[in-house]
Amino acid sequence: MSCGNPVSEEDSLMLRRTKYDKTRICGKCRTNVGNVVIRHAVYCKECFLPNITTKFKRILEPTINVNGTRKKGFKPTGNLCVGFTGGLGSTVLLDLISDCYYSTPTNEDVLKGGKDHPRNAGVWKKATVCYVEICNALPGTRDRTEEVRDVVEQYKHFDFLPLRIENAFDDMWWEKVGGQRSELSLKVDIGNEELVMIPQPIESRDPVAALLAYISALPTQTAVPSAIQNLVRLLLLRTAWSTDSSHLLLGTCLTSLSVSLISSISQGGGFVVREEAQEEWQPTVSSGSRRAIKVVRPLRDIGMKECAIWAWWRGLKVVGKESFLGGKQGIGALTKNFIVGLERDYPSTVSTIARTCGKLAPKDNSEAICLLCERPAQPGVQDWKARISIRSFADPGLASPPPHATNVVSNKTDDLSGPSLTPYLCYPCHTTLTSRSSRGSTASALVNSTPLPVWVAPQLDGKGIVEEWGSRKMERSDMKQSISEFLLPDEDS
């Protein structure tokens, strides 16, 4: 590769350089001819494989015990839950977990380490592999549950737990995972920034229909992958909770971590940049003990290329993830294209992104938790939005409307037809539900109210919402709005 300047410091100007340092000999054993180049370093096959195992353990093992040390072996406080997508990362993750912590002891191993040696007994008593099938959110995509089952059931130590994305709207599932029943049922009007909540009669609903109503009410195509990703995340967290797990492991590799960091930042998620890499989660409303689940991404130092080569050399079958239909418009998909392209020409980029984001912390502390994603929510974001993007002349932060605007009616309804969901959401979730494209939207004008995932309403209990509704007479227009999608056009006139 020709290069105008003999410049080599990569951080200063991100120059392209040859794909590997001077020699083809493995940089680790300095004996064998190398087989693979990982960020300029050459490895032979014999050194590559244990190197991956080391990187995996280096991230995971300090998180297993409560105090971080492992002097007396591993003693996690609960079970293990693994989020499996069928993609490359989680396929490699399952293989590594099985290999490192659940491999069948041979006679020799038993002699070596004894029965209690971590290699010979599962580190976690019970290991559940949870897969969330998303095909019902994306019409036209295929159900991969059985293919995934075949892969997972090869590992006899793992219990396979298939979920479906519509479980997020399924009261039966919610009850099964120990969720609190709410005293209220609600829909939300997605037609404006306030996200007004509309009370619903408490009755059983069809989860798939509710899911599709939610997806189709989203303001842009871009919001669909983000919304799906959030539903999957909460389904996994709840499953980890209900299986008494202390750890939820995800197959996010270094490349995917960089993608999710940039993608999250691009959606206004700067406040939760830490949580994107590692977080501890517990339900905001729960009965019983307060225990937190550690969400760990043990592959976060291992690049996508390393994962692919591991899978190839270990002969792993990768089922593949659904590439979102129309997902080219998704922030995540755009980011992935961008990062994967950069990674080829500037192989250090992905680790720089992850390292840089690791040095960041949120500016303010916040006690508030977003109802939709159950992550910390920064206060005051609505004022911020109103100030820098004026959407109405009735905003309190603004002075008088311009002289020509003689006709201004308060289009920010002072007496909202119900309480607003907006104050309970974080910036990214509010943006997903409200940010419009200048190029048209998916939501039809008729459907502007949507049901919400099962975990939202219980968190509103005790926040005075019910009282507010209780004291107010239901207006005819409210009633009509809440049933609008069931009315035929001529009944309307």
Binding site: R24, V37, M304, C307, A308, A311, V318, R344
Partner: protein, 119 residues
């Protein structure tokens, strides 16, 4: 040039993995023969003067035109494989072998692995 060198060919074993096989009739393993000498610029008519030995760049184009069944944009971009596709030649990263300039030998095994695992 003698007749024998003109008609000489290279036998290869090609493997697709990581979902790429879906673009190639859902068949992971392929055996094929390509000419040993190919035009310097892909698609040009064969001529004696402007030939080069068949390399991986040629192979990529050849696969696109002869084996690929759908969605070329998931396989190729800017005259090479799309970012996110790994190439191994005889179990060794092509980045160690000169990437597209690697000259193919009879009996070589070339593996294309997608890391993107799209549908």
């Amino acid at each position: 040039m003698s007749d024998s060198s003109e008609s000489a060919s290279v036998s290869l074993k090609i493997e697709f993995s990581g979902g790429l096989e879906l673009l190639f009739s859902n068949q992971r393993s392929h055996k094929l023969k390509i000419p040993a000498q190919v035009p310097k610029t892909y698609g040009d008519a064969a001529s004696d003067s402007d030939n080069k030995p068949a390399d991986i760049t040629f192979l990529i184009h050849y696969l696109r035109d002869n084996l690929l069944k759908e969605r070329v944009e998931l396989f190729m971009e800017n005259g090479t494989v799309r970012p996110g596709i790994l190439v191994l030649v005889n179990d060794t990263d092509w980045e160690l072998e000169g990437e597209g300039d690697y000259v193919l030998k009879d009996g070589d095994e070339v593996v294309f692995i997608s890391t993107l695992h799209g549908g």
